[in-house]
């Protein structure tokens, strides 16, 4: 569905995108993750035909967004991070306005808009003025608007920013439904746990580079090895607490896959480079060496940890 090849974008001397390559299959919900200024929005805006690339190719369903920005507009629906309203325009009129921008007749827009408003749970608001809607409702309306011309690709730039938890949940449900309908969606967000729940694949960007991409499970699996283990042990029978810690540190470092051992105030943090079975073996080995383990758990892998780890801000 989306094929990005060697995409580069410069703003004067600033290199926003540096030879970006990305492939997204039809029906995927792709999550863009990255710190501010990483190049997510630039990539999205080029894909929508809003921005000219310095070089490279962006193919949406075979159509080049760089050379045919006008053709791409019928294939892509765009939801920006900020929802602007028109005073004195009702929800249905708002949909009709954007439908007419695509050359659709009022009858066609009305028919399609009814279904879309139902999809985003706004069918009871169609005669309400847009500026009276809550922020969450406006954002869902914006999604419905972006789908009015039935695009192949839906691009959402931080659609959940500034939304309260309930509005975020409702938005997530809408996007899940769209995913179930087979729409290809690109979504960028700073709320990483939600992305991991919604997306089938993710791309992590930093300084204009795509530093990791693939299916969420695959990326999580890759990162699984670096999830730290938190452990507590009763180290009685040593002259000093320091002696007990020394013994345990030495013992742990002798175990396979243990990279680093650090002590916090009341627990041991083990940087462990192994899978769950190997972690279980570590516990078994400690018990066999008569270490009284009172607490042993592996930090749950999540997108946030993965993101911090890959972008160099991993939790210590």
């Amino acid at each position: 569905m989306l094929e990005i090849q060697n995409l580069t974008k410069r703003y004067g001397k600033f290199l926003a995108l540096d030879n970006l390559n990305l492939h997204i299959d039809k029906g995927e919900i792709f999550g863009f993750v990255g710190p501010n200024g990483a190049g997510k929005t630039t990539t999205m805006r080029i894909t929508c035909g809003l921005l000219k690339a310095t070089s490279g190719t962006v193919l949406v369903d075979g159509v080049n967004a760089i050379t045919n920005p006008e053709d791409i507009k019928r294939k892509v629906g765009y939801v920006p991070d900020f929802f602007g309203v028109y005073d004195n325009l009702k929800v249905m009129e708002y949909m009709e306005f954007y439908g007419s921008m695509y050359g659709m007749s009022k009858e066609d827009v009305d028919e399609i808009a009814e279904g879309l408003l139902e999809l985003v749970n706004l069918s009871d608001k169609k005669d309400v003025f847009v500026d009276t809607l809550s922020r969450g409702m406006k954002q869902r309306l914006c999604v419905a608007r972006a789908l009015i011309h039935n695009p192949d690709l839906l691009v959402l730039d931080e659609p959940n920013s500034g939304l309260d938890p309930r509005a975020r949940f409702e938005m997530k449900e809408v996007l899940k439904n769209l995913g179930a309908m087979g729409k290809t969606i690109i979504i960028s967000s700073h709320i990483l746990p939600e992305l991991s729940e919604m997306c089938t694949s993710i791309g992590i960007m930093e300084k204009g580079h795509l530093i990791a991409s693939g299916k969420v499970d695959e990326i999580m699996q890759k990162s699984k090895g670096s999830q730290p283990i938190h452990m507590r042990a009763i180290m009685d029978g040593y002259d000093t607490e320091e002696d007990g810690r020394e013994f345990l540190s030495t013992l742990l470092r002798e175990q396979p896959n243990v990279e680093k051992v650090t002590y916090t105030e009341d627990e041991v943090l083990i940087a462990f480079n192994g899978n769950d079975a190997e972690a279980a073996n570590l516990l078994k080995g400690l018990v066999e060496r008569n270490v009284l383990v009172s607490n042993f758990y592996r930090e749950k892998e999540d997108l946030e940890s993965l993101f911090l780890e890959i972008t160099g801000g991993a939790k210590e």
Partner: protein, 298 residues
């Protein structure tokens, strides 16, 4: 298959949004109240001058000139205000980006914005007909004069409106766009006038040096054809008297036959030239709208 006529969607939306605004009602009321005050003032003055002999109805035809000039002045102030927020407002609301992701071209966006401003201008004009009609009923003006005036006002609206849309595409703040529109308008008027004055001054100096009785006018006054108010001036002169701008130019000096023909057709030539300038401003506005695509977002 015959292509179905469609109203520019941006113009349609803006008209709908504008019509629901209380501001428009107040503006229509304000304009008509102002025009009515002028009529009352002229009639009161006429009554005082006439004294026992009553009204001098023929002089009431000057109401047409007074109301026409006031409408031109109001239009020159109102249209920049209407159009100043046309593009900058969309940019502030961040709806311009969404518009640019649709198949509607930047030029259509600019045209739609001008069109909606023109619809507002037409609304102001139509609501002022009853007040303007006093000049016809009492002053004996013809309906053609009224239609001509409306045509001129529409032309002026298009000109000022396209400058306004252009300025709105250049600056971010609506207030700045309004000021810039007025500054550009004043600059065009001043520059054309200065060039005309200097040109005729040089011709006059040359004539003095050559001991000639008359100056050869030549092409110098043509610069005034680029002054957006010159066709209006010619229109008012022609309507209120048997004179025209051509006659005034002719009295300034000698004219060749070729130039005479051009100056006789002052209104159509000037209208075409200024409408081409308007088109140029709209094209520049469209370019500015499209250029936003290449700016880095902060």
């Amino acid at each position: 298959m015959k292509k179905k006529f469609r109203i520019n969607p941006i113009m349609k939306k803006d008209m709908m949004v504008g019509a629901r605004s209380i501001k428009m009602s107040f503006a229509i009321m304000g304009i008509n109240a102002f025009l009515t005050l002028i009529v009352l003032f002229v009639m009161a003055t006429n009554s005082m001058v006439g004294g026992m002999s009553g009204y001098d109805y023929s002089s009431l035809s000057y109401l047409f000139l007074a109301l026409g000039c006031v409408e031109c002045g109001l239009l020159s102030l109102i249209v920049p205000i209407i159009t100043s927020g046309s593009i900058s407002g969309e940019r502030e609301r961040q709806t311009l980006d969404i518009m640019l992701t649709t198949p509607v071209s930047p030029f259509s966006i600019a045209l739609g914005k001008l069109g909606s401003a023109m619809m507002v201008v037409m609304m102001y004009m139509i609501t002022s007909i009853p007040v303007m009609a006093i000049a016809f009923v009492l002053g004996g003006m013809s309906w053609w004069a009224l239609l001509g005036l409306f045509g001129m006002l529409l032309y002026l609206g298009v000109y000022v409106g396209s400058v306004g849309v252009f300025c709105s595409s250049v600056v971010k703040k609506s207030v700045m766009a309004t000021i810039l529109t007025i500054v550009i308008g004043v600059a065009i008027i001043t520059i054309t006038f200065v060039i005309l004055t200097v040109g005729l001054g040089v011709k006059s100096y040359e004539a003095t040096l050559n001991n000639a009785n008359n100056i050869t006018v030549g092409a110098t006054p043509m610069i005034m054809m680029l002054n957006p108010y010159s066709p209006l001036v010619d229109f008012f002169i022609r309507t209120m008297s048997s004179y025209s701008l051509y006659d005034l130019i002719k009295e300034t000096g000698t004219l060749s036959a070729g130039y005479s023909k051009i100056y006789q057709a002052w209104i159509p030539i000037s209208l075409v030239l200024n409408l081409l300038v308007s088109f140029g401003f709209l094209k520049l506005a469209a370019r500015n709208i499209a250029v936003t695509r290449n700016k880095r977002r902060k």
